[in-house]
Symmetry: C2
Subunit: 492 residues, 2 copies
């Protein structure tokens, strides 16, 4: 590939493109083959990379193999390997061959479907693929384009939350006046993702008007309709305006599920926008055995889920569906002269996705999700999800059968939450003990898990769902947990 120094930059010369891209494919092939040899979480100190790289970019271009060698030497050893099959932290962030292929096509074609006219089939494929996903997940017809609703692919749940909050807010402010922004109130549970509160702050909801409603073990950490109703009533009585309720199917900390139908009824009663955040568990909803978890979705105004988590669609891809696209587009549209379509005046109505999101420009994400769905098929995806759920079930059974451990919240999907029980009579500092256990597990490099705290309990989260995870990895993790538990119990 030689030095590029002397040559003019020819960015898309077809044969250079092919040769260098193949070199990257080879690099990644080796990475995937060897991935289990890396500690899942690296042992590195802050600032190390700065000492290895110069302060300025090179003046002359460098060959691709030199760059790849630096990736191998300097970057890879300091990464947390999210694709390592022993990654059980946070939630999974699935890469796949099909997700990668779709991303390559999107990145290679590099079209920008911000308006229909700016890339017609890219816009239309997005409409097709969000409808496909809505049907798979089992959403009511009103979330499909054919039912008067529709979907869009965002980069993240927070973006979906900001856009739907803005739509809900502007619907109310258009009748009450902008001053009413000070009286708007939003509701979510103490288990909701932090992204919701962040989104509410971004759109200008007064911080004092974010209601974080407590949950408890009695409802398996799901919101109850009563608790929401009581909070709403109190706010209405003080002259405030209930705006938006966020329900979660599969919370981040514990995998808890809010009752969509019950909350939908409360939302309807008080004229609130109901959003259902199924970022993680939305993928499981493609299996009939999980569909009860979105019973009542017809009462929601919007639903979102992230195929980049547990649906093999590489970062990033978030499906957002809404019942009333007009509310979204009236809050988010912009029609400057430089985007008017000369030659298409008076043409049939089309979807201009710039008005369904925060940014103007946007990548061709539909290609990625479409390739994933075609390559693996609905049946393949169901089998994939069930494999992880089965592994999580097995891990939960092992914990149940071992008296040293307690499963803290019953597993719903593929997330298992557990902790060491107190030893003799409960005099241990359980937080310290479980914290030590988690540190020992992660320091081994053989698995990476994270934690949560609920009702003052320090809980270890085992989130099964990395793309390469097989039964043997979950078995290894269980052995590791047992070994480390023994060590931790043995040390004073």
């Amino acid at each position: 590939m030689g030095s590029a120094a002397a040559d003019a930059v020819l960015p898309l010369d077809a044969s250079t493109f092919a040769a260098e891209s193949r070199a990257v494919v080879d690099f990644l092939e080796v990475y995937y083959r060897d991935i289990e040899s890396y500690p899942v979480r690296p042992d590195t100190e802050p600032g190390r990379l700065r000492t290895l790289l110069p302060n300025v970019p090179p003046e002359d271009g460098e060959p691709v193999d030199v760059i790849l060698e630096d990736v191998r030497r300097h970057i890879v050893p300091g990464l947390t390997h999210w694709q390592n099959p022993n990654f059980f932290a946070y939630f999974p962030m699935n890469a796949s061959t099909a997700g990668f292929a779709g991303q390559m096509l999107s990145t290679g074609l590099n079209v920008v479907p911000f308006m229909w006219a700016a890339s017609p089939t890219a816009t239309e494929l997005e409409g097709v693929v969000v409808d496909w996903m809505a049907r798979l997940v089992g959403l009511p017809e009103r979330f499909l384009f054919s039912g008067g609703g529709g979907g869009v692919l965002h980069g993240s749940t927070c973006e979906a939350v900001v856009c739907t909050l803005t739509a809900a807010r502007d619907r109310v402010l258009s009748s009450l006046g902008h001053e009413a922004i000070l009286r708007l109130v939003v509701y979510a549970s103490d288990q909701s993702h932090c992204t919701f509160q962040k989104g509410a702050r971004i759109v200008g909801i007064p911080p004092a008007n974010l209601r974080v409603i407590p949950t408890s073990a009695a409802s398996a950490y799901g919101l109850t309709a009563d608790s929401v109703r009581n909070a709403v009533k109190a706010d209405v009585a003080s002259g405030l305006v209930p705006l938006y309720l966020c329900a979660t199917v599969g919370t981040t900390g514990l995998g808890a599920v809010d009752p969509v139908r019950d909350l939908g009824e409360v939302a309807r009663r008080y004229g609130m926008w109901l959003h259902v955040d199924a970022a993680y568990a939305g993928s499981a909803l493609i299996c009939p055995e999980f569909k009860d978890y979105i019973d009542g979705a017809e009462l929601a105004d919007s639903v979102s889920m992230n195929p980049h988590k547990w649906f093999l669609s590489n970062m990033n891809c978030c499906c957002l569906w809404v019942v009333s696209p007009g509310l979204l587009t009236s809050a988010l549209s912009s029609n400057p002269e430089y985007l008017n379509n000369v030659g298409r005046e008076g043409a049939a109505e089309v979807v201009d996705y710039k008005d369904w999101q925060i940014a103007l420009s946007r990548p061709f994400r539909a290609m990625k999700l479409w390739v994933v769905l075609r390559r693996y098929g609905a049946g393949g995806m169901r089998a994939y999800i069930r494999r992880h759920v089965d592994m999580a079930k097995w891990f939960e059974r092992m914990l149940d059968a071992d008296e040293r451990f307690e499963v803290v919240v019953p597993r719903r999907f593929s997330l298992v939450t557990f902790r060491l029980r107190p030893r003799h009579g409960g005099h241990d500092d359980m937080e310290a003990l479980n914290r030590k256990l988690l540190m020992a597990i992660n320091a081994s490099g053989r698995a990476f898990m994270t934690h949560f705290v609920v009702d003052n309990k320090f809980v270890i989260r085992m989130a099964v769902g990395a793309a390469m995870t097989e039964m043997r990895h979950v078995q290894d993790a269980w052995e590791l947990v047992q070994d480390k538990a023994k060590e931790v119990h043995a040390t004073p």
Copy 2:
């Protein structure tokens, strides 16, 4: 590659990954080789793709070659080909071999650097590469991490605007109270990107408090300090609070430049946040001959530019630099328990990029920009930019030398704005004539340009900057413009 129907989904089997990824590389190699054979803008009707694809995803997985064949038959013919060297519309959206390689590495590794601990070297590479870019662009030291500031890679300018508006807003509201949101005012010119007004609406600035300040030919459509000062004074006199001023270096419609130093002085005087949006022209600032355009940047609070436009960094990648990261992170941070770092309590301070942006999760964009800078070098990138500027200069000279045409606003970078002059004595409907000319150019499939309207003039925009564009394409475009002008003049 066979049918995946009967097999279990093995999403990252290394050899399947390599084989299927090579098939996609081959596909794209052919696409780039043949790209000039496609009309730049497709001739297609809304809804066509829906008639070609089924309403539901396949139940069984399909082989990659079948999927690629469908991309070739159904998707590619209906795309606007942004990478076609005859694409002169909007602004360029550069793909490149290095940008693609960087995206492949990012997508393949698929790590999520939302916190330092979630992928240390990915976070640190971002810090390194935004500092590299800041130096290249010529930003003052205070925008670098070493100078107390710092940068982040977003997906879009609108995201950068929303985040900095939120930071500016919350700084003011923390002292004046949330009620003051009703009194906040933001300022930009009538040439600013629509994204700015959209961002201001999203963060809850009252629509009545968005000041769109007129510009004129006298200042080459740049804002004047006087006009901003007058608007601000009037608002202050009515008890309003000036919050944020957006200056643009290289506007979308005409490539106009706002005077950063003058506006910085006004912003300082009234305690406003000054943001410099150099989305398109930021790339040109790496050449010393353009650096005057950001003279005064030390008076700004934030600066953004999009390497995905004219800097070979495939969708999407937006650099945002701020002088005071603390203002950004205090407005955007969230620290739920499930993200606390067990084993790193009390460790050295690190950058957690989730607090620099809207979303929690985020892709490893730094890899892409780093590969681009290394592969082409600073010198290569300057030469690349200058090549486009030279081509635009040539096109402008041709227009100047042809009495049928008028260059509407003097070219600053690589955007040329022109129109047909009135023929005999000015009785033509100039808008209709130029609209007809643009339609004829685009209908030919041999070039794609867009338009703008300024001072009631319908202006055709010729934005040079697609990655593959060479002199011969610009010459062809000039011939096309001449031919179509002749046709348009000849028809009644």
